[in-house]
């Protein structure tokens, strides 16, 4: 594209962008909305559209695994109904709680006043048993989002659903069909029992640890010296390179639109049509790797924000993220939308087909990956001697690092901390890394570096200060936190209303954490500090350090946490308090 001729004059462009952001009433709505209401196909969960909604949270008997179990649902469905709002509208949602415990609904990624955010204990007092709460706010954005309970572990039990906000301005891409693909993980277990089990035996689900047989194979393939050195390195850290998921397919049944893989949901298309798939990861603890064999995926939005379209074969979606993807199946045949768990312990799927009853086979699960020392920001050279303990008391000064990346400093609160089992040494942003298990798989995999927002943040100020927080945890004790401090022991992060700050997150654990800031956007930066994409949930893989900018223009008390539900419950959360 020719830059000189296609560029808007700056003034016009900026006005247009702000106009979109503020949602000025634009004409021509009827025109573009006409073709695309394919959401209400036979199988799709109910769609509730409009300005006024009545929602009810309650217990619902379900049978997902072949055994009777009890879910907590919104309006009796799992996932909850798809809510369809329109940018600029004032929406009213009366949420009734029929449970015997307090409940709450949080509108994930939606900008709203703090008392509408739905985090009991921060934004309001929660919805008492038998009580209700009236949420009312003006919708100032558009795109694909979701909602879920923010009370206790109810999200795991079924309180989640998709949220679509139709824009006032036409969207910069065309499509003929529009489907939500809500990915999630289900267990018949009471989520509190699952949490307690993690405290007792955090590796309960890790049935993929390396065995004596694996050692013999490695010794044969890589040589005995290398195999021993590798086992020594991991043994010295008292960790396992197979720890990719705390809870996996051993416990979970993976769902897409509330359906198991063997009973999958079908979305219809006519060959040649452009199908928009709105992927939402509503799972409590599962990263999914999604692809549609035989089709290219054009990613057009991330976390509800339109991006420069990027064509890929596959993408990883962290819990709480959303991606809008357009596909164009040309032939009269079925396709499987295949979503395998990051640790390859299972998958969810839906079918896209020209007619009901058609089905395409699922591909085999990919090979399970092993974490490497590089994955954790340790560098393979240093670890090959296996002399470092990787503990919280590690003396960095005594080690020679043959790397150019500077040694990462760590907060003093991590030193000697019983709830910090490792520290990364030389983390980098690694935005161009497809992620563990997706490297060099022969497919073009979406990376954060591929995400470029179409919309420039209104606030182009340089951040006036940087807040560095380290994601920390102890796998065995199953305690998680920031800087070695869990939520209940931590002071709020205080922001001044109107300031622009840079959050830098350093992952000092061996797990990936999708970090979600309520109430405000997280403007992800690239490695050079340039704006990349606007998100509500930024995933931080082990061994990485990633930065995003935040404009503190939302007064109040906001949750800031890892969206792995059990990590949040175990303390990986902070209050971010924006004050005048």
């Amino acid at each position: 594209m020719n830059d000189e001729t296609s560029r808007f004059p700056d003034t016009t462009r900026r006005r247009l962008l702000r106009g979109m952001a503020l949602g000025s009433a634009a004409a021509g709505l009827g025109l573009w909305r006409e073709p695309v209401w394919a959401l209400a196909t036979p199988n799709q969960s109910g769609v509730l559209a409009g300005k006024d909604f009545d929602l009810s949270i309650g217990r619902t008997p379900v049978n997902i695994t072949g055994r009777a179990a009890s879910a907590i649902t919104v309006n009796g469905s799992l996932p909850g109904p798809i809510l369809r709002w329109r940018e600029g509208d004032e929406v009213t949602l009366r949420v009734r709680n029929t449970l015997a415990e307090t409940s709450a609904i949080h509108w994930h990624g939606i900008l709203l006043p703090a008392n509408m955010d739905g985090v009991p204990g921060l934004s309001f007092h929660g919805i008492e048993p038998g009580g209700d709460y009236l949420y009312r706010f003006r919708v100032r954005q558009s795109g694909t989002y979701w909602y879920h309970s923010h009370s206790s572990l109810q999200e795991q039990a079924g309180v989640y659903g998709a949220l679509i906000v139709d824009p006032l301005e036409p969207e910069p891409f065309a499509f003929d069909r529009d489907y939500v693909v809500m990915l999630s993980d289900w267990t018949d277990m009471d989520p509190h029992r699952l949490f307690a089990r993690l405290k007792k035996r955090s590796d309960y689900d890790n049935l993929y640890k390396r065995t004596v047989g694996d050692f013999l194979r490695d010794a044969r393939e890589d040589g005995i010296t290398a195999a021993v050195a590798d086992r020594k390195a991991w043994g010295a850290m008292r960790m396992s390179p197979t720890d990719l998921a705390d809870v996996n397919g051993n416990t979970y049944t993976y769902l897409a639109n509330g359906r198991r893989a063997d009973d999958d949901w079908t979305g219809l298309f006519t060959p040649g049509e452009r199908v928009r798939l709105r992927f939402v990861n509503g799972a409590a603890m599962t990263f999914f790797d999604v692809r549609i064999p035989g089709l290219k995926l054009t990613v057009v939005a991330a976390d509800g924000q339109n991006i420069q379209p990027v064509e890929v074969d596959e993408f990883r979606i962290a819990p709480a993220e959303t991606f809008d993807v357009i596909v164009q199946p040309e032939r009269d045949e079925a396709h499987v939308v295949f979503a395998q768990a990051m640790d390859r312990s299972g998958h969810a799927r839906i079918t896209l087909a020209p007619r009901m009853g058609m089905r395409a086979p699922s591909p085999a699960l990919d090979k399970r990956a092993l974490l490497t020392m590089d994955d954790m920001g340790h560098g393979s050279h240093a670890m090959s001697t296996a002399e470092m303990s990787c503990g919280a008391n590690m003396d960095h000064s005594k080690m020679s690092m043959p790397m150019s990346t500077p040694m990462q400093a760590h907060p003093a609160s991590e030193t000697g901390n019983p709830f910090v089992d490792m520290q990364t040494m030389s983390p980098t942003p690694r935005l161009d890394d497809p992620g563990i298990g997706l490297r060099d798989n022969g497919r073009r995999v979406l990376r954060y570096a591929d995400l470029h927002s179409l919309q420039v943040p209104d606030d182009d100020r340089e951040p006036s200060r940087e807040i560095e927080l380290h994601l920390t945890g102890h796998m065995e004790r199953f305690v998680w936190g920031f800087d070695g401090i869990k939520f209940s022991d931590a002071e709020p992060v205080r922001l001044k209303y109107g300031e622009r700050v840079r959050f830098t997150l350093v992952n000092d654990t061996m797990m990936e954490h999708p970090v979600h800031l309520h109430g405000m956007w997280s403007d992800l930066e690239d490695a050079d500090g340039k704006f990349l994409v606007r998100k509500h949930s930024v995933s931080i893989p082990p061994g990485t350090k990633r930065s995003f900018r935040v404009t503190a223009d939302a007064l109040g008390r906001w949750a800031f946490h890892c969206h792995m539900l059990m990590h949040m419950e175990a303390g990986m959360m902070r209050e971010v308090r924006v004050e005048e």
Binding site: A114, E462, R477
Partner: protein
């Protein structure tokens, strides 16, 4: 109608991409500091200077909505990041060759920063009656891998061997040593100035993820001879065991194994006196379980 729509969309798409192009789509190879500055200058030629962003002016309604009355609630009522948790585990619960029953169990109750530990170890044998102890200790984590525990131990009386129960004060450590050795070491101070050290190391070798070989070694040393209990001063006894278990599920694992007891010095003499061997090897079969 549709055609017009498509054209409209296309135009819109183009313009949107164009915007983006001027803002972000720098080829990865080309961004230099000059380019970066150029982009910034470009911003300044617009209607606003960079850094002029102002957050909306707040009203009293905004303030009220931002800090609502929580009716006395705080987060603790809705999220418990330090719940009360408990666990009961029988690491060994077994029949031993020679018609003996032996066990080693642990239970803990509490929170992340402190737990009450109950531990018990013992065996019941036809000729010797029951040799058993129970401990109650308070344990706190001191660093990433180690807990320190302190409490009391009671050895139950044994009529057949003719000794009464004995009480000890106990202080010890337990944790995971490098290379994932599970270690437990406790010093006991008993009545009449008797002292004892017990240390135990376990390891888990995964033949498969369900078939697990567990070597275990336990050593006992005493400060003074104890003729009644048949233990001499210094290193008295070392028990080494090898158990092969199959985890039917994580919580339940039947096993078979072999255990060898080696007695040293005075302890060996005490053992020989009634005609027993100083060393003993026994087959064992049992079940490991927890809940």
């Amino acid at each position: 109608m549709r055609g017009a729509l498509a054209i409209g969309l296309l135009l819109c798409m183009q313009s949107a991409f164009a915007q983006d192009h001027s803002q972000h789509a720098m080829p990865p190879s080309s961004p230099t500091t000059t380019d970066e500055h150029a982009q910034h200058r470009e911003h300044t030629t617009g209607d606003d200077a960079p850094g002029d962003y102002r957050s909306p002016v707040l009203t009293d309604a905004d303030r009220a909505a931002a800090f609502p009355d929580l009716h006395g609630h705080d987060m603790s009522a809705h999220m418990d990041d330090d719940p009360f948790v408990w666990m009961v585990m029988a690491d060994r619960f077994e029949w031993q060759q020679g018609d003996a029953v032996a066990w080693e169990g642990t239970a803990w109750f509490g929170h992340d920063r402190g737990r009450l530990w109950l531990r018990s170890e013992g065996e019941r044998e036809r000729n010797h009656g029951t040799e058993a102890n129970i401990e109650a200790l308070w344990g706190e984590p001191v660093n990433a891998w180690w807990d320190v525990l302190a409490g009391v131990r009671h050895d139950i009386s044994n009529e057949r061997l003719g000794h009464h129960g004995q009480d000890w004060l106990a202080i010890g450590v337990q944790g995971l040593a490098p290379y994932k050795f599970e270690v437990q070491a406790t010093v006991y101070i008993g009545e009449g100035g008797q002292s004892m050290l017990q240390a135990e190391v376990e390891y888990e070798l995964l033949l498969t993820n369900k078939l697990i070989l567990q070597p275990r070694i336990e050593a006992t040393a005493l400060g003074r001879n104890d003729a009644v209990r048949g233990i001499g001063s210094g290193l008295g006894e070392v028990d080494a065991g090898l158990r092969l278990r199959y985890e039917v599920r994580r919580e339940v694992a039947p096993y078979i194994g072999i255990e060898r007891a080696v007695r040293f010095g005075k302890t060996a003499d005490f053992a020989r006196a009634p005609g027993d061997d100083a060393h003993e090897t026994r087959w064992v079969a049992g079940v490991r379980f927890w809940f």
